[in-house]
Symmetry: C2
């Protein structure tokens, strides 16, 4: 047994111990998902930038294809084609404010990944958890294809493909495929397939469950097999262009980019694309005939194809837009799949497309401005059931139920919480930069060098990466 | 003044202080030789291999284009397109034997480069110096284009283009262009342009001085200007192929290579080339219509063009072979330039071509087997003056003088010393590997991964590399 096999065994055991109450064995969920050959040959990257914390420590790990920005420790970890983006980690000397507490930070926050296997997982942002403000830890965890771990310290858990945990401390949980959880803290939960759950205790509770039959063609996952469905096919069909980009050391920008915008050197750009001021296009974003207006962003693992974004749009991690026009201020949440199949899909001003939403209409569809949209929508009828104008939602005091959605609590609070967060995202991304104030990622993520790291190509340590300590 | 400018200033001052007795200012020798833009953009490499010590510590340095293998510390150093190859460093627990002393090593030897600017310099091998067996230090030194620092701890010195210091401790010296020194230890010397000096106290003293007029067309160097001449033109004319190789992260072998041989992924291979068993082709070697027989090697910065090597040949660092046939056992020393201009040049069995030899014949020329060859040879007449059969040299007891060569001491000792060294080089390179015993670089330098390192692309540290500590 070589070093990599031992490491995988170690991680599996730790996850299984944590999840023993569910009688859960993670082995078949990952064992054959990644060919060892890929772990042993694919190279990783870390960013060298004076505008981001440069502080990495990698030991006893495989980091094949992964991308690191910010401060991170990886120990006994397998991070395969993952994206560990720590550019919003809390800074030493700052105050973390939470429910009346003001917690001073005595050191820079860092991401710490231990005894975990993350597969094409996006890890982003700081720990939302006031109990451990200086460490954003992921431990004893397996996260699979296109999961997002967003500001969510996670221990002893399994995340099925396309699952997202967002601002939620996760302890000893199983999160089902395409489930989205934003719930503050969850312990010992087994979250079912296709659950969208947004909770703010005492304020609101949004709980949607995808109809299994409708979701299955998009994403299906059985332990022992690779995940399948349209999401996976779609990503695989577009993989080739990334291969070329990752094979070269440096790359010139394929299109002109304004001084106030940034286009990551690991993003695909095909066809006729334009990028306006204050636009952020992140690594592994895929643009094809895409027009991004002022302050729009295309985040990691997003696809924007034959689509127009009018400005100040968020295309969150893993979101896909095909044949779609977004008016200004439209937010499209994590891993959403938004496609105008034959006719164009139009989404009006300031709409909020909930994370993990599928809009896949064969006919023309237009969503009016200022709506909240969720679930799965294949035509006009679904849209009526799975959307509500924000001004109506704001008037709801004690909940409503419609189709597979149960909403409890205060609509106004829900809408305001979301709107504030969208403004915060746009602000962080530099959408509002006026030439002087409001610098964000779009302005800071320019001229970043990437160092390329490779595993041992032979011997007992084949596939393991050397120990590295990188500082400014 | 940014970090890189400050660093250059620091190095210049330290070199000038060391060389103050010569009233020497190193500033014009380097100031405009490397465009800052190259230092700020070119990426470097270090090898990840379980069969070589993996131990690097880089801080406050620029490492643009440099290549590291083995154990090395670089501090306050500018190493531009240099090759720091530490694969023969002494191991912890071994004994270093020198003149009756047996010095036990209590730690692995490492290369340490401090306050120095090395430009396209090859640094190789362990410190020959028994006074500091665990550290091979280069400090307060400027070495320019295509210099070789081979097992030679060097402090406070300036090496002009194409100079070589070989198994010599160098302290406060200026080494002239195309001068080769193998002299044990030298202090406060100013070695003139085109000097070849091999000394073993009490045994022999080989001293050759190139005729200035004849050497000038090959290499000319004036402070304040780039070095020029045929050597530089020749290298520049072949540079383009390297650019392509360095632009990609990984590379498949362009030709079949036997299991017992190795072809570095940073070597150029063009036209019809073959590589036999036990062959070593090092990084930045350039092969074009080159045929390397069993146990032959092409070392760093060598060019082998339209040439055949019969087997067990050494093509040392920086040696160039064009339109030449080497019979078995021929040794071609550092930075030699061996060219059959119109007709093929033939070099007989077991010939020793001294380091820094130029053979550039317009007519056909054949060198008989078992000869020592030195200096500059453009035809039959030069060959008579600048060569001697080894069996005749062995009979010399107290020296001889011929043309620009002065030889003092014992010829047999000189020949045996050289022959032993050639056998050692072939052995180290794995030329004699029999499938079980005799593994050397040809067998060990396979399947090496290279990590790519880049400088900061913006800010105060633009052009500086981050601090890195790399361990197994």
């Amino acid at each position: 047994m070589n070093g990599l096999e031992k490491l995988l065994k170690r991680i599996i055991q730790r996850v299984n111990i944590n999840l023993r109450e569910f009688d859960f064995d993670v082995t078949p969920c990952i064992e054959k998902l990644v060919p060892f050959e890929d772990l042993e040959t694919v190279h990783g990257f870390y960013a060298v930038s004076p505008l981001h914390t440069l502080d990495f420590r990698f030991s006893r790990s495989n980091l094949a294809g992964s991308y690191f920005l910010g401060k991170c420790r990886a120990t006994n970890a397998i991070l395969f084609k993952s994206d560990i983006r720590g550019d919003e980690l809390k800074k030493k000397g700052s105050l973390f404010k939470e429910q009346g507490f003001e917690i001073p930070l005595t050191k820079n926050e860092g991401i710490r990944i231990e005894d975990s296997f993350l597969l094409k997982t996006l890890v982003h942002n700081y720990s939302h958890d006031p109990e451990m403000p200086e460490r954003f830890t992921i431990s004893n965890t397996v996260a699979t294809h296109f999961t997002n771990i967003h500001g969510s310290p996670t221990d002893g858990s399994f995340l099925a493909p396309f699952a997202t945990v967002d601002f939620t401390t996760v302890n000893d949980c199983i999160i089902g495929p395409y489930s989205y959880i934003q719930a503050g803290e969850i312990n010992h939960f087994h979250i079912d397939y296709g659950t969208v759950w947004v909770r703010s205790p005492g304020q609101f509770n949004f709980l949607y469950k995808f109809p299994e039959k409708a979701l299955r063609p998009y994403i299906d996952f059985e332990p022992g097999k690779n995940p399948k469905g349209m999401f996976i096919d779609f990503i695989n069909n577009h993989e080739e262009e990334f291969v070329k980009i990752f094979a070269t050391v440096n790359r010139q920008s394929p299109i002109p980019v304004p001084d106030t915008a940034s286009l990551d050197r690991f993003a695909v750009v095909l066809g006729d694309c334009t990028v306006a001021e204050n636009v952020l296009v992140s690594q592994r974003a895929y643009l094809e005939n895409a027009h991004l207006g002022k302050g729009a962003n295309g985040q990691e693992n997003c696809f924007i194809i034959d689509s127009n974004l009018a400005g100040n749009n968020v295309t969150a991690h893993g979101a896909k837009l095909i044949n779609t026009d977004l008016d200004t201020g439209v937010f499209v949440g994590f891993n959403s799949f938004i496609r105008g199949r034959n006719d164009r899909l139009k989404i009006g001003k300031d709409c909020i497309i909930m994370p993990h939403t599928i809009i896949d209409s064969s006919g023309a569809l237009a969503i009016e401005e200022g709506c909240l949209v969720w679930g799965i929508i294949t035509g006009e009828q679904d849209l009526q059931e799975n959307s509500i104008p924000l001004h109506k939602l704001e008037k709801i005091r004690s909940g409503f139920s419609r189709g597979n959605l149960l909403f409890e609590g205060n609509g106004k609070s829900f809408v305001h919480t979301f709107q504030e967060r969208i403004q915060h995202i746009l602000h962080s991304n530099g959408a509002f930069f006026d030439g002087k104030k409001g610098k964000g990622h779009a302005q800071k993520n320019q001229n970043i060098s990437f160092n390329i790291i490779q595993p041992y190509a032979r011997g007992r340590k084949k596939g393991m990466f050397p120990t590295m300590v990188i500082k400014p």
